[in-house]
Protein backbone atom coordinates (compact mmCIF):
# COMPACT_ATOMS: atom_id res chain seq x y z
CA UNK A 1 0.00 0.00 0.00
CA UNK A 2 2.89 2.35 0.76
CA UNK A 3 4.23 1.69 -2.73
CA UNK A 4 0.86 2.50 -4.28
CA UNK A 5 0.59 5.71 -2.30
CA UNK A 6 4.15 6.67 -3.23
CA UNK A 7 3.41 6.12 -6.92
CA UNK A 8 0.36 8.36 -6.76
CA UNK A 9 1.91 10.95 -4.43
CA UNK A 10 0.31 13.92 -6.20
CA UNK A 11 -3.13 12.52 -5.40
CA UNK A 12 -2.05 12.14 -1.75
CA UNK A 13 -0.83 15.73 -1.66
CA UNK A 14 -4.16 16.87 -3.13
CA UNK A 15 -6.00 14.97 -0.38
CA UNK A 16 -3.80 16.49 2.34
CA UNK A 17 -4.27 19.99 0.90
CA UNK A 18 -8.03 19.48 0.90
CA UNK A 19 -7.87 18.58 4.59
CA UNK A 20 -5.66 21.60 5.30
CA UNK A 21 -8.21 23.88 3.64
CA UNK A 22 -10.95 22.23 5.69
CA UNK A 23 -9.03 22.80 8.92
CA UNK A 24 -8.45 26.43 7.92
CA UNK A 25 -12.20 26.78 7.57
CA UNK A 26 -12.81 25.18 10.96
CA UNK A 27 -10.09 26.77 13.07
CA UNK A 28 -10.22 30.42 12.07
CA UNK A 29 -13.03 32.77 13.00
CA UNK A 30 -11.76 35.43 10.64
CA UNK A 31 -13.84 35.68 7.46
CA UNK A 32 -10.86 36.46 5.21
CA UNK A 33 -9.05 33.38 6.49
CA UNK A 34 -12.14 31.34 5.69
CA UNK A 35 -12.10 32.67 2.13
CA UNK A 36 -8.46 31.63 1.78
CA UNK A 37 -9.29 28.18 3.16
CA UNK A 38 -12.04 27.73 0.58
CA UNK A 39 -9.59 28.74 -2.16
CA UNK A 40 -7.10 26.12 -0.93
CA UNK A 41 -9.84 23.47 -1.03
CA UNK A 42 -10.69 24.56 -4.58
CA UNK A 43 -7.13 24.26 -5.85
CA UNK A 44 -6.70 20.91 -4.09
CA UNK A 45 -9.68 19.42 -5.90
CA UNK A 46 -8.41 20.86 -9.20
CA UNK A 47 -5.02 19.26 -8.59
CA UNK A 48 -6.75 15.93 -7.98
CA UNK A 49 -8.75 16.20 -11.21
CA UNK A 50 -5.79 17.26 -13.32
CA UNK A 51 -3.53 14.53 -12.07
CA UNK A 52 -6.15 11.94 -13.08
CA UNK A 53 -5.57 12.93 -16.70
CA UNK A 54 -1.77 12.73 -16.59
CA UNK A 55 -0.07 9.85 -18.40
CA UNK A 56 3.62 9.06 -17.91
CA UNK A 57 5.90 9.90 -20.82
CA UNK A 58 3.36 11.82 -22.87
CA UNK A 59 3.36 15.49 -23.76
CA UNK A 60 0.85 18.30 -23.43
CA UNK A 61 -2.10 18.15 -25.87
CA UNK A 62 -0.66 20.63 -28.35
CA UNK A 63 -0.10 18.99 -31.71
CA UNK A 64 3.52 19.15 -32.83
CA UNK A 65 4.67 18.37 -36.38
CA UNK A 66 1.24 17.17 -37.39
CA UNK A 67 1.42 13.96 -35.36
CA UNK A 68 -2.16 13.08 -34.40
CA UNK A 69 -1.75 9.80 -32.55
CA UNK A 70 -3.80 9.55 -29.36
CA UNK A 71 -0.86 7.60 -27.85
CA UNK A 72 1.34 10.68 -27.79
CA UNK A 73 -0.66 13.22 -25.80
CA UNK A 74 -2.09 13.35 -22.27
CA UNK A 75 -5.80 13.52 -21.59
CA UNK A 76 -7.12 16.98 -22.58
CA UNK A 77 -10.52 16.67 -20.92
CA UNK A 78 -9.61 17.29 -17.22
CA UNK A 79 -7.61 20.37 -18.23
CA UNK A 80 -10.66 21.79 -20.01
CA UNK A 81 -12.92 21.09 -17.03
CA UNK A 82 -10.49 22.57 -14.50
CA UNK A 83 -10.07 25.69 -16.66
CA UNK A 84 -13.78 26.29 -16.21
CA UNK A 85 -13.48 25.64 -12.49
CA UNK A 86 -10.69 28.16 -11.91
CA UNK A 87 -12.72 31.01 -13.37
CA UNK A 88 -15.80 29.99 -11.39
CA UNK A 89 -13.72 29.92 -8.19
CA UNK A 90 -12.43 33.46 -8.78
CA UNK A 91 -16.03 34.65 -9.29
CA UNK A 92 -17.06 32.97 -6.05
CA UNK A 93 -14.09 34.58 -4.27
CA UNK A 94 -15.13 38.02 -5.50
CA UNK A 95 -18.71 37.55 -4.30
CA UNK A 96 -17.54 36.25 -0.91
CA UNK A 97 -15.18 39.18 -0.45
CA UNK A 98 -17.87 41.72 -1.28
CA UNK A 99 -20.17 40.02 1.24
CA UNK A 100 -17.34 40.23 3.79
CA UNK A 101 -16.99 43.97 3.15
CA UNK A 102 -20.72 44.50 3.60
CA UNK A 103 -20.66 42.53 6.86
CA UNK A 104 -17.74 44.59 8.13
CA UNK A 105 -19.50 47.83 7.20
CA UNK A 106 -22.51 46.80 9.25
CA UNK A 107 -20.99 45.01 12.25
CA UNK A 108 -17.44 46.49 12.38
CA UNK A 109 -15.78 43.14 12.91
CA UNK A 110 -14.51 40.19 10.89
CA UNK A 111 -15.02 37.65 13.65
CA UNK A 112 -17.83 35.30 12.69
CA UNK A 113 -18.82 34.61 16.33
CA UNK A 114 -19.09 38.31 17.10
CA UNK A 115 -21.19 38.89 13.95
CA UNK A 116 -23.44 36.01 14.94
CA UNK A 117 -23.83 37.40 18.46
CA UNK A 118 -24.77 40.84 17.18
CA UNK A 119 -27.27 39.37 14.73
CA UNK A 120 -28.79 37.42 17.60
CA UNK A 121 -29.05 40.55 19.73
CA UNK A 122 -30.72 42.43 16.88
CA UNK A 123 -33.24 39.67 16.43
CA UNK A 124 -34.03 39.68 20.14
CA UNK A 125 -34.55 43.43 20.07
CA UNK A 126 -36.93 43.11 17.16
CA UNK A 127 -38.94 40.37 18.86
Amino acid sequence: MTQILWNSRILCVAVILFAIGFVTLLLNRNLLKKVIGLNIMDTASYLFLTSLGYINGRTAPIIIDGVIEPERYVNPLPAGLVLTGIVVSVSVTAVMLSLTLRLYKRYHTLNIDEIYRQVHLEQEEEA
Partner: protein, 94 residues
Protein backbone atom coordinates in the same frame (compact mmCIF):
# COMPACT_ATOMS: atom_id res chain seq x y z
CA UNK B 1 12.55 16.35 -12.29
CA UNK B 2 11.73 13.94 -9.50
CA UNK B 3 13.54 15.91 -6.81
CA UNK B 4 12.09 19.23 -7.98
CA UNK B 5 8.63 17.71 -7.98
CA UNK B 6 9.07 16.45 -4.42
CA UNK B 7 10.37 19.83 -3.26
CA UNK B 8 7.42 21.60 -4.87
CA UNK B 9 4.90 19.21 -3.34
CA UNK B 10 6.51 19.74 0.07
CA UNK B 11 6.35 23.50 -0.45
CA UNK B 12 2.65 23.23 -1.25
CA UNK B 13 1.89 21.49 2.04
CA UNK B 14 4.13 23.86 4.01
CA UNK B 15 2.48 26.90 2.43
CA UNK B 16 -0.97 25.49 3.15
CA UNK B 17 -0.21 24.85 6.82
CA UNK B 18 1.51 28.24 7.21
CA UNK B 19 -1.53 29.97 5.71
CA UNK B 20 -3.70 28.20 8.25
CA UNK B 21 -1.65 28.89 11.37
CA UNK B 22 -0.17 32.36 10.74
CA UNK B 23 -1.64 34.98 13.07
CA UNK B 24 -1.20 37.99 10.80
CA UNK B 25 -3.68 38.30 7.93
CA UNK B 26 -1.18 40.06 5.64
CA UNK B 27 1.38 37.27 6.08
CA UNK B 28 -1.17 34.57 5.31
CA UNK B 29 -2.27 36.41 2.16
CA UNK B 30 1.32 36.59 0.90
CA UNK B 31 1.84 32.90 1.66
CA UNK B 32 -1.36 32.15 -0.24
CA UNK B 33 0.10 33.97 -3.26
CA UNK B 34 3.23 31.82 -3.02
CA UNK B 35 0.98 28.74 -2.79
CA UNK B 36 -0.74 29.71 -6.05
CA UNK B 37 2.58 30.22 -7.85
CA UNK B 38 3.88 26.81 -6.71
CA UNK B 39 0.58 25.27 -7.82
CA UNK B 40 0.97 26.77 -11.28
CA UNK B 41 4.49 25.31 -11.60
CA UNK B 42 3.15 21.89 -10.62
CA UNK B 43 0.53 22.18 -13.35
CA UNK B 44 3.35 22.87 -15.76
CA UNK B 45 4.90 19.57 -14.65
CA UNK B 46 1.57 17.78 -15.10
CA UNK B 47 1.60 18.75 -18.81
CA UNK B 48 -1.29 21.19 -18.51
CA UNK B 49 0.21 24.51 -19.69
CA UNK B 50 -3.22 26.13 -20.17
CA UNK B 51 -3.96 25.60 -16.52
CA UNK B 52 -0.54 26.83 -15.46
CA UNK B 53 -0.89 30.13 -17.29
CA UNK B 54 -4.48 30.61 -16.07
CA UNK B 55 -3.61 29.85 -12.45
CA UNK B 56 -0.62 32.20 -12.54
CA UNK B 57 -2.80 35.00 -13.91
CA UNK B 58 -6.01 34.37 -11.97
CA UNK B 59 -4.99 32.63 -8.73
CA UNK B 60 -1.76 34.45 -7.98
CA UNK B 61 -2.84 37.69 -9.65
CA UNK B 62 -6.49 38.60 -9.49
CA UNK B 63 -7.63 36.65 -6.40
CA UNK B 64 -4.72 37.90 -4.33
CA UNK B 65 -5.26 41.49 -5.50
CA UNK B 66 -8.91 41.25 -4.48
CA UNK B 67 -7.96 39.85 -1.07
CA UNK B 68 -5.36 42.59 -0.53
CA UNK B 69 -7.83 45.30 -1.51
CA UNK B 70 -10.41 43.92 0.89
CA UNK B 71 -7.85 43.96 3.70
CA UNK B 72 -6.78 47.53 2.86
CA UNK B 73 -10.39 48.66 2.72
CA UNK B 74 -11.11 47.11 6.11
CA UNK B 75 -8.06 48.85 7.60
CA UNK B 76 -9.29 52.19 6.24
CA UNK B 77 -12.74 51.63 7.68
CA UNK B 78 -11.19 50.70 11.01
CA UNK B 79 -9.24 53.96 11.04
CA UNK B 80 -12.44 55.86 10.37
CA UNK B 81 -14.00 54.17 13.36
CA UNK B 82 -11.16 55.65 15.42
CA UNK B 83 -9.92 52.76 17.51
CA UNK B 84 -6.78 51.65 15.76
CA UNK B 85 -4.54 50.39 18.51
CA UNK B 86 -7.16 48.23 20.12
CA UNK B 87 -8.29 46.80 16.81
CA UNK B 88 -4.72 46.11 15.66
CA UNK B 89 -4.24 44.03 18.74
CA UNK B 90 -7.55 42.31 18.19
CA UNK B 91 -6.75 41.46 14.62
CA UNK B 92 -3.54 39.73 15.62
CA UNK B 93 -5.56 37.49 17.87
CA UNK B 94 -8.26 36.66 15.37
Amino acid sequence: MNIIELVLLGLLIICGIATCVSRNLMVSLIIFMAYSVVMSIIWGFLEAPDLAITEAAVGAGISSILLFITLKKIHDMRKEDGHEAESEEKEQLL
